[in-house]
């Protein structure tokens, strides 16, 4: 454990639905007097099975979705920081597997049409 502690920073972007929700909930916690340090520390402890005091007040606003959003961003930032400091090589085997396209929620044909349109424009250059 680093005696000096660790320092990370990230920005939640309001154009992303999850992150916008996270921003609103963080601001609500801050209005209650909790700092961003409190919120993230408590969220991480909770993810590991502990029950920090801020969650014992009966406040149900730290939802699984917020926890996922906070931890996902924290995780991404942590990995990026380790890579930049030479800790984890960014080799092909470490690249996350691309999301499959058999996701029935996606309109694959429309996506391909958008790419075709872009390619047609590129041909004019």
């Amino acid at each position: 454990m680093a005696k000096e502690g660790i320092s990370r920073s990230f920005r939640l972007h309001p154009s992303d639905d999850k992150e916008r929700q996270a921003i609103e909930i963080i601001e609500a916690w801050e209005e209650k007097g909790y700092s961003i340090r409190d919120i993230i520390t408590s969220a991480i402890l909770r993810s590991a099975g502990f029950e920090p005091d801020m969650f014992k007040t009966g406040n149900e606003r730290l939802t699984p979705a917020l926890l996922e959003a906070i931890l996902t961003d924290f995780g991404k930032e942590l990995i990026q920081t380790i890579r930049e400091n030479g800790g984890v090589p960014s080799t092909p085997q470490n690249k996350p597997k691309p999301a499959p396209f058999d996701d029935e929620d996606e309109d694959l044909e429309a996506m391909r049409n958008l790419v075709k349109g872009h390619s047609a424009r590129s041909a004019k250059k």
Binding site: S15, P100, D105, D107, A110, L114, G117, H118, R121
Partner: protein, 346 residues
């Protein structure tokens, strides 16, 4: 390898790193002499923010450039040179990234009518760049350059998720969409048919934009408050924007009422945009109109009142971020393209 999404707008530049960092800067570049540069840098190792040295040439950028006599902006293909576009690109790289990167990928947007200059953009940007800004010395290569139409960037920001997915739950997936990109000097249009088919014949630019609104507003404001503005030089553009939004101009501790002037200045742009819609085929030929670009923030409510027969959707729900919608959408589109390529390559 970091990505730069760069909208080289006529009024202001918008830039985005594809993740969380974005910014904008007024479109202004003032070449400096060596002596002017030395005055700025003095004994410091680096210049202050707003200045850049590129391979022995010196420039003031954005708001700082307004302190110097600006030459007329180049037009057409003359904008897309290393000495102009390249310098602006180098400057925005330093705004977004620290100087420890060696390679950058550029995704450059352009107005539809500038498609003919896409190769000029590529030639102006690619290659090795050495420059100095307030963040230190940079030595990097722009390795790849992709280009995209700005209104389509706005379209993609509305239609795609951050992961580059077009979901079946998107309510506009089967709509015929007209995209209006209202910028500082131009209003660009693109029509997209159901299922994502871009109507190439619809892509065009019209000369009208937010700058015209600010000019009319400033003239009327100075005319109404002649005594107050007597002897006053240029009004900073951001103060004009604020006055238009608030309905009063903050003059020291006075509030100069100007809501009616703002409304009438905005109406001129609203009327121009309505003409653009008619020229694109009229509301009867579309299911919905997407508004993108910073100028859309001015006309969103007036045009909805003036044309109640069709829905106008803002490409970016946060009106303060509307100016970035095209670069945000560019990032989503190229994320989608990368996913498609990775899957194709197995």
């Amino acid at each position: 390898m970091p990505d730069l999404y760069f909208d080289f707008g006529n009024a202001d530049w918008k830039f985005f790193d594809g993740e969380n960092s974005y910014g904008h800067e007024r479109h202004a570049i003032a070449p400096l002499t060596e002596s002017q540069w030395r005055n700025v840098v003095q004994r410091a190792k680096q210049p202050p923010e707003g200045y850049i040295a590129v391979e022995g040439r010196y420039f003031a950028m954005g708001e700082k450039a307004r302190r110097y006599v600006l030459k007329e902006k180049p037009r057409g293909a003359d904008r897309y040179t290393q000495e102009y576009y390249g310098v602006a690109m180098a400057y925005v790289i330093s705004q977004l990234f620290d100087n420890n990167h060696r390679v950058i990928n550029l995704y450059a947007s352009h107005a539809p009518r500038d498609i003919a200059y896409a190769d000029d953009i590529r030639n102006a940007a690619m290659g090795r760049w050495r420059f100095v800004t307030h963040k230190g010395e940079y030595n990097l290569s722009v390795k790849t350059v992709e280009t995209f139409d700005e209104p389509l960037g706005g379209f993609h920001h509305t239609m795609l998720t951050k992961e580059g997915k077009l979901l079946k739950t998107n309510p506009y997936r089967k709509s015929t969409v007209l995209v209006l990109d209202v910028g500082g000097y131009t209003c660009d249009v693109a029509a997209v048919d159901p299922g994502g088919k871009i109507d190439e014949g619809s892509l065009r630019s019209t000369v009208t934009g937010a700058i015209g609104v600010y000019e009319i507003f400033e003239n009327e404001l100075r005319d109404r408050y002649r005594e107050e503005f007597k002897g006053m030089g240029d009004i900073a553009p951001n103060r004009l924007e604020e006055a238009i939004q608030r309905g009063y101009y903050a003059f020291g501790n006075m509030k100069l009422e100007c809501a009616d002037i703002a409304r009438s200045a905005i109406a001129t742009l609203t009327n121009d945009v309505m003409d653009v819609i008619k020229a694109a085929g009229g509301v009867g030929n579309f299911d919905v109109i997407f508004l993108t670009g910073g100028g859309s923030a001015l006309i969103a409510n007036p045009i909805r009142e003036a044309v109640p027969t069709i829905d106008f959707v803002l490409a970016e729900q946060n009106i303060d971020l509307l100016r970035y919608a095209n670069v945000f959408g560019g990032a989503k589109f190229f994320t989608m393209m990368k996913r498609l390529e990775e899957m194709k390559n197995g």
